[in-house]
């Protein structure tokens, strides 16, 4: 099997899905830590943003890498979704879980597409926008609007659902499964997914409800 055949095989695609998933998860963790600067006030948050942008050419380099990983994850996800749909041309009249599926695993492709839409809006809100004002004000301008705050909260709930399966699933895809660690891996990955989502969700919630947040 050549390398090309390997990555096109079912298991190869799942491994690439897991590896790109790990990269996106790590990005999400770093993004979450960066965002949590908002809880220390606008000064801390703006200083963090400035520090980040002072990294020079590393920033666009990282952005391009991230874009590539995102595109790979999305492309593979859609390919797998279409292939899997074709693998059972006639559906069952009655579908009932035997007990393995979770709300997260059941909805993976759909939550993925919702996240993609969210990403576009998110980038338009904060990346492709006027950066002459401090980032804390940009955040306030967007998230003080209830419609946007609600949109972000629901989109982040979808992210939580997606990674509630993804964080565990990537271990299994890479062959990491051992009775001694399985319970820890399962509850640990779920806990990490929920905690991370909570950090992100606190920001629109605080901006909307606390008048002085990021002032």
């Amino acid at each position: 099997m050549t390398l090309g055949q390997t990555v096109r095989s079912s298991v190869g695609q799942k491994i690439l899905m897991a590896v790109s998933g790990i990269m996106l998860s790590l990005f999400l963790v770093v993004h979450g830590i960066g965002n949590s600067m908002t809880f220390f006030g606008s000064k801390a948050f703006n200083a963090y943003a400035e520090k980040l942008h002072s990294l020079g050419f590393l920033v666009p380099l990282f952005e391009l890498g991230l874009l590539a990983v995102f595109l790979l994850h999305i492309f593979l996800g859609l390919t797998l979704f279409l292939q899997n749909n074709q693998a059972r041309p006639v559906r069952y009249q009655m579908e009932k879980s035997s007990g393995g599926r979770t709300p997260g695993s059941r909805t993976m492709p759909y939550t993925g597409v919702v996240i993609l839409i969210f990403l576009v809006v998110h980038l338009l809100n904060f990346h492709f926008t006027d950066h002459s004002i401090p980032i804390s004000d940009i955040v306030r301008n967007v998230l003080r609007q209830p419609i946007y705050a609600l949109f972000y909260l629901s989109a982040l709930a979808v992210v939580a659902l997606h990674i509630s399966h993804g964080f565990w699933s990537l271990f299994q895809s890479l062959g990491i499964n051992h009775p001694k660690y399985n319970a820890t891996l399962r509850s640990g990955s779920l806990g990490a997914a929920l905690a991370l989502s909570a950090v992100f969700m606190l920001i629109p919630l605080c901006t909307l409800l606390i008048k002085e947040f990021l002032r």
Partner: protein, 253 residues
């Protein structure tokens, strides 16, 4: 538990041949003993249909004691019915209630062809085995059993995987119609034992390649397979298959 009599309403998939369009037909059976197995209930139905001059329902069965892997149908959305770790032939009517409505469908997947009614051609699983699920050495005379030391734990794990009866319930249960639990069990059972080691890398690659070629879906770790498996085979064996595949894909010459 004393045996009682119950009535069951059935909705069964009827299909004349692989190319005919199928449809559901409804049947009612009264006064069935709860000691009866699911297949015995179908026997009762078929006897009734035959006496009425109608075509009996075709279904797969052989040993009727849960070890051959021949029987299997999807009952109310669950392969082999609602009882965990049980084949359809070992499912008894005591697990159902009087007046229950049961929808019985064949195992469905692109890689499985419906021959007639509930009879499904699962020879694609045999083709996966033919692609590498064996040890190709001339064994010669039997050596003394303890010549090759195998730890008890490893032997038990290999046996857990070897419990697979190849019934296809994992494929039927998988939302993606993937055969990864079947494959995982077969690859594990050989990879764990010294006799299977020489060919382990090629085996993982060629069996996965064959599975893809036959039109099965991709594993997305939904865990439906292990929940539906009549032998309760763990997805731990899928993880081992993944490890075997990664090692083989990276390092096999």
């Amino acid at each position: 538990m004393p045996s009682t009599k119950i009535d069951i309403n059935l909705k069964i998939w009827r299909q004349e041949n692989p190319d005919a369009p199928g449809s559901f037909q409804q049947y009612s059976l009264a006064g069935l003993s709860t000691d009866m197995s699911f297949l015995e209930m179908l026997d009762v139905l078929n006897e009734k249909l035959t006496l009425e001059g109608r075509e009996p329902v075709a279904f797969d069965h052989d040993c009727r004691e849960g070890i051959c892997g021949m029987c299997g149908a999807v009952v109310n959305g669950q392969p082999h019915g609602p009882e965990p770790g049980t084949t359809l032939c070992q499912l008894h009517l005591r697990h159902f209630r009087d007046g229950d409505h049961l929808v019985i469908e064949p195992f469905r997947a692109r890689a499985f062809r419906i021959e007639k009614d509930l009879v499904v051609d699962r020879s694609s699983l045999d083709h996966i085995i033919q692609a590498g699920g064996y040890v190709s050495v001339n064994t010669g005379g039997a050596v003394e059993a303890n010549t090759i030391a195998i730890p008890q734990q490893i032997a038990e794990q290999a046996m857990d995987a070897a419990a697979c009866i190849g019934c296809g319930a994992c494929v039927a249960a998988c939302p993606n119609a993937s055969a990864m639990l079947f494959l995982g069990a077969k690859v594990s059972q050989l990879a764990l034992l010294p006799q299977g080691h020489p060919e382990r890398r090629l085996r993982a690659l060629s069996m996965v390649g064959k599975m893809d070629e036959l039109g099965f879906g991709n594993c997305s770790n939904e865990r439906e397979c292990e929940a539906a498996c009549p032998k309760s085979i763990s997805i731990r064996h899928i993880a081992r298959l993944n490890r075997e595949f990664i090692k083989a894909a990276l390092f096999a010459e």
